[in-house]
Amino acid sequence: MIKGWLALAAAALAVRLVISPPAISAAAGSPQASAMKLGYVELADDPRYANRGAHSGIVFTDLGRPYQGSQVALEDAEAIGRVIGVDFSMEKSSAASVDELVQQISDWIAKDGVRFVVADLPAAALTDLARKLADRPVMLFNISAPEDVLRGADCASNVLHIYPSEAMLSDALMQYLVAKGWLQILALQGPAPEDAAMVAALQRSAKKFRAKIVGTRPFLLTNDPRNREQTNIVLMTGDVGYDVVYVADSSGEFGRYVPYETKLPRPVVGSAGLVPTAWSWSWDRDAAVQLQHRYEKISPPRRMNGADWAAWEAVKAVTQAVMRTRSTAFDAVKAFLLSDKLTLDTVKGNPGSFRAWDHQLRAPVLLSTADAVIERAPLPQYLHEINVLDTLGIDAPETACRF
């Protein structure tokens, strides 16, 4: 007993005497601290976040604004900055319009020397913003828009895409289906343009990996009995044979009712069932758990999603470039980001780098159910002459992007 008391007292003393200073202080002789201020932009009334996540008061989706993801990486950037003599910080703007964002970013460029801006914007707004900033010394990071057209016909040289493209997500899923031998696919397509884009990506992937789409059937969100051919899942999934049902449902309202409702006992994939995603909270390999816990410490009451991961990764990319080049100059940092020297930690196994032909980040894609990551793409049986990550999405020979 006495030994215990002594030990406690000793511990108390030790704690009182030695108060650990901040872990990382600037090394002696490090250069004068330079500033690296990043920007973060979003639209206040972004329709993707309006009325989402709660129906009848029950929250069922993890969709939320990904700003906190960037803050997790900023904490690391600040720690690295103390060692290499760079002050990392971030400005945020939530604006009513793209024009307002253009004004805001122009101010940041002039006043704060901001050169890298994380953009949580829908595709149209991102394209507009990139066009209006084309002659300015600034690079945007797309962290939430999956549209292929942003990496194709509408591509912009001042945008880097962290978020996976529709084609990457679709290829990831298709690799899995083909590996399983589930080659006959019945597609259910919602009314939104995003749903059409998903089905287009699916068709491209099916051709690439030699699966077959046996039918594409539109669905509607309505109780009108005259539309039962487009509302009744049993009717929609009858009179045809298939191995798997693909649902393209950006509304999130239809897809979740498809599993277990199909005429034939078949798995459901796409927007419901097995979903290809940039991130899943249930991913527990490659140091993912520590990242999620750091996210959850500072986040709203929500787990990390794909856009959160992309926001984190965008800031991480800039930090890596500054650290490895030992420079905060726009040209040097940009050149490093676009070089093959970038081995970015994706926390999903393979290191990431940007594709020269469309500025898309190479990164694995997770195939996730509601509570488990079933597979990580690219699957090992798919090979590529240069980088296996290029089996996902649009490869150099097929790109429509011209910078």
């Binding site: 406690l8 511990a11 704690v15 872990a23 990382i24 904490e75 720690a79 060692v83 890596q320 290191p351």
Partner: protein
């Protein structure tokens, strides 16, 4: 039936609860109230007493029996298995038969011998403890509480303290083994992992996986005195016998950084590329070396090979094909055999050092993490 299921649940829960997961403050600690929130205190005085009794007994026996037959010269190989929560004990003399499964706390990973190999410490990440195993009886005899999710650790040179890297809290904890008290927490960069301690015990090196640095820590003062930028996601260390070089494996950039300890900077970088693999597959983690320090062995993770490196020239001399995601490596006491734990093929590769070939693979538990060989 319902009753039986309930009972089973209770029992399962009970099993987990039986592990010393206690992180609550003792009343005494609260009285002091130092504003330090993470100091866990000694909680199992009974366990402590047992620990000392056994320790004393072992020492007494050591004096009485000159040979200490049951614990010495066994050559046993210990493999910690993350997902089966046990350590496989293999006897090389019995054709690598697993002679014992030692059940441990949840998710056993790094292991270290202590007390002249009478004790084996193993960090158990999901129960926040370091289990203490009596090597003579091959049983867990005690638990030392740590912060959340311990993975890698080192013993202080006098073996009075454990240094445990704590990935969740971004600190290195110094834990008194005798008192089971966290004496001190040294703040590091995010996700500290690998630890090394200098021969004089005065300097501690810690990798930070996220900030790509090695922190240099003054072990006496408990402060970070320098930071060395290395490759991407640094994992483990190898301190060469000369004391001049410290090697760091970088999992994502697929290299080993050689740190000049006098200058605290990277002097050389060693690249790896086994035949038939690409740079992105090379994810080095575990390292070991021969006693003379002439040959280092680096496990290349997803490249499914180990590399033999001449430590003078830094040239890779050979690549040996082993199992899937090779991490943990250890040499037999006679240095004739290398053991490699393959995390994704759930087996242990046995490599003949003379011919530098894998001669067989022995199945162990699920997700083998570390391997240690007794003398």
């Amino acid at each position: 039936v319902d009753q039986a299921i309930k009972l089973a649940h209770l029992f399962n829960g009970g099993l987990k609860m039986a592990m010393p997961r206690v992180r609550a403050f003792s009343g005494t600690a609260r009285l002091f109230n130092f504003g330090v929130t993470k100091i866990a205190h000694k909680l199992r005085r009974g366990g402590d007493a047992r620990f000392w009794t056994r320790g004393l007994l072992a020492i007494t026996l050591g004096f009485l029996l000159s040979a200490e037959a049951q614990a010495k010269d066994t050559g046993y190989v210990f493999v910690s298995n993350e997902k089966t929560n046990n350590i496989a004990v293999l006897d090389p003399k019995l054709d690598y038969r697993i002679i014992q499964w030692i059940p441990t706390s949840h998710r056993p990973r790094d292991m270290k011998f202590g007390d002249d190999r009478r004790l084996l410490y193993v960090a158990c990440g999901d129960d926040d403890v370091i289990d203490v195993i009596d090597v003579a009886t091959l049983k867990v005899t005690d638990h030392i509480p740590t912060g959340p999710s311990p993975e890698m650790f080192e013993l202080s040179r006098d073996e009075k303290a454990l240094y445990v890297s704590n990935e969740e809290g971004s600190v290195v904890q110094e834990i008194s083994i005798a008192d089971k008290i966290i004496m001190r927490e040294i703040a590091t960069g995010a996700e500290p992992e690998g630890l090394a301690i200098s021969a004089d015990g005065k300097t501690l090196y810690v990798t930070s996986e996220v900030t790509d640095m090695v922190h240099v820590v003054d072990a006496e003062a408990g402060v970070v005195t320098d930071n060395i930028i290395v490759g991407t996601r640094p994992r483990r260390f190898l301190l060469l016998p000369s004391g001049k070089e410290l090697w760091v494996s970088n999992e994502l950039s697929g290299q080993v950084s050689v740190i000049d300890r006098a200058a605290n900077r990277v002097s050389t970088t060693i690249d790896f590329l086994p035949p038939g693999f690409r740079q992105v597959d090379v994810t080095p983690v575990g390292m070991t070396m021969t006693r003379d320090g002439k040959t280092a062995i680096v496990a290349l993770g997803r490249a499914n090979h180990v590399a033999f490196v001449d430590t003078m020239t830094k040239e890779v001399e050979a690549y040996v094909l082993v199992g899937s995601r090779a991490w943990g490596v250890a040499l037999s006491p006679d240095e004739k055999t290398l053991y490699v734990a393959n995390g994704l093929s759930d087996d242990l590769s046995i490599v003949d050092m003379a011919s530098r070939t894998a001669i067989r693979a022995v199945p162990v538990g699920r997700v083998p993490h570390s391997v240690l060989a007794d003398d």
